[in-house]
Amino acid sequence: MNDIPVEFSPHRRRLMQGLAALAGSALLPFGAFPAAASGDTDLAAVSRRLTGRDDLNPAYLAALDNAFRGIDAGFADRLAGLRAVLDTADDAALRARLADAEDEAAALARDILTGWYLGVAGSGDDAVCVAYADALSHAVVADVLRPRSYAYGAYGSWSAKPL
């Protein structure tokens, strides 16, 4: 009654990548990722600056790190370059630079922001879902909205003024 085709289509491949990444986030201890385990990594530092948050979930950080490295063999080098950019740019300059569609460092920063706020690393066929409900965009509005597919509340609770 419940057969789902197992053909190895592009769709299936994307789904499996997503599941693998989630499994990494949910099941593997932080220390399972050596690059992320030794002190303050480039990704941790870059993520703090880009999100403005000091309380980033270490398991989420490890899952993102794992996903980005899996997608892009040159990730570590590009990340180090981005960290250097962030170390020297003030907020106004950084905002302008991140809006530049052609800037490589900005593109990586936008990818990392997408990872944190939408739970997705990479794009197109390479895109991987590393998180959903824990993505920061949901945290920003958590007092009013639920991540889609999770119940808002009892029937009709949405009729009340939100705040």
Binding site: I4, S9, L113, A127, Y132, S149, G153, Y155
Partner: protein, 531 residues
Amino acid sequence: MADTLSADVVVVGSGICGSLAARKLAREGASVLMLEAGPRIRRDDIVRAFRTSPRKGDLIAPYPYSSLAPHPDYHPEDNGYLLQQGPYPYKPEYLRVVGGTTWHWAAQAWRYLPNDFRIRSLYGVGRDWPISYDDLEPYYHEAEVLMGVSGPVNNGSPRAKPFPMEPVAPSYLEQRLMTRLAPEFEVITNTTARNSRAYDGRPACCGNNNCMPICPIDAQYHGGLAADAAEAAGVTLIPQAVAYKLEHDESGRITAVNYYDWDKVSHRVTAETFILAANAIEIPRLLFLSASDRFPDGLANSSGTLGRNLMDHPSSSITFNVDEDVWPGRGPQSPASIQKLRDGDFRSEHAPFRIDFSNSSRVTSITEDLIKAGYFGAALERELRARTAREISVKNVLEQLPDPDNRVMLADEKDALGLPKPLFSYSFDDYVHRGMAASRTAFERIAELMGGTDIRHSPEGKYSNNQHITGTLSMGADPADSVTDAVGRAHDHENLYMASTGVMPTVATCNSTLTGVALALRSADAILGRV
């Protein structure tokens, strides 16, 4: 070695129309066999696939795909199943799974307006139906009871009996729209196959805001439930069975349907009556594929209109920020609309339309926009919160007239089973463009009344699609200009019926599913000798 199966009735396609027609016939004692090209799926698997998908905005992404029963998929790039001849690309989405495409829909379950059946007589455009609203009214109610439809009575479509349920409770956003747009625009709660109370073993909506691509709790009706109901009534369902050819005898009666299983083994099914219930693209495709010496242009095509008069609902939209916090995303996704521009003498000049308010959470799209614009850190979060509270989107659902040059055909290119893919010719006429211009005026007035700022129109002349695929099997009184008769039976084949939105001769201004189901239930009555 091919085997041969047999039943009183064979239904090709297990979507909401085919399944509910099959159920009705089985409950009257017929042996019914239903073929479905795609696989069985389970709701919980789709919910999990949605939550782990990197493309949350892609309604197709959570559903399984097979090249053996392909469906169109445009993300991250077009999979090339549907081919285009132009001038305008027609890119509908649909699913080939047990239960069909209503696994993902907003459950809008509107009746047509009585005048929608007579636009040629009343307004000199399009074509009249061979039946009237009154002919269909009892079947609308039958469908509404099966599907659990709720709604308000002031929706323009008269009814002999009450809705099975009260309208779904309005969100705060919907209440603000109702208050601030009145009296110029009356905003009503949509009629939807969504539970406002526990109904038929399914719970009331609890606001998961995920009607598309999947309601996690079955608070809205869908074709998977219809297929379950058909099987419970005794219908034999064969999934992963891709129908590819109908056979006929000397008199033109259909004698058998042949299908491939997913190992490409061919099977043959004989029956007294055949119902084609794939969709308005896959049914013409099967009929073209079944061309014979006697019917060289395809079955059911002596009129030459098979696959022609393809219609959908093109949409334009406006997005703006309201001048107060309204927080879309609380409650169901498509809660309310404006009816006043669905009908009137203006229909002789430009397309009518319904105006539809979205209540889908905008968190993802706004986040994407802000990241692209260079926002980060505290400013990103501050702006995300502000815009999520105030940004709303409004679209139209606009009537496209039947045009014989808008059509589905067979391409030279073939799918993995060696069957020619669908090919489209498609365009929009000035009737549509003038309707879009009228929509724009209404949109701007709505934005003004809501104190709208940062107003963004969808690109001029580029319309999104609504997957309300109609017209390619049009019913009509004259066999010279229609494929099916007033009960959905092929003019050319006395035991071949179509249970599909494809039989609808006009697309009107509302979602096509409820009308498609009502017509399918009426066709079942015709098979039973009751019409």
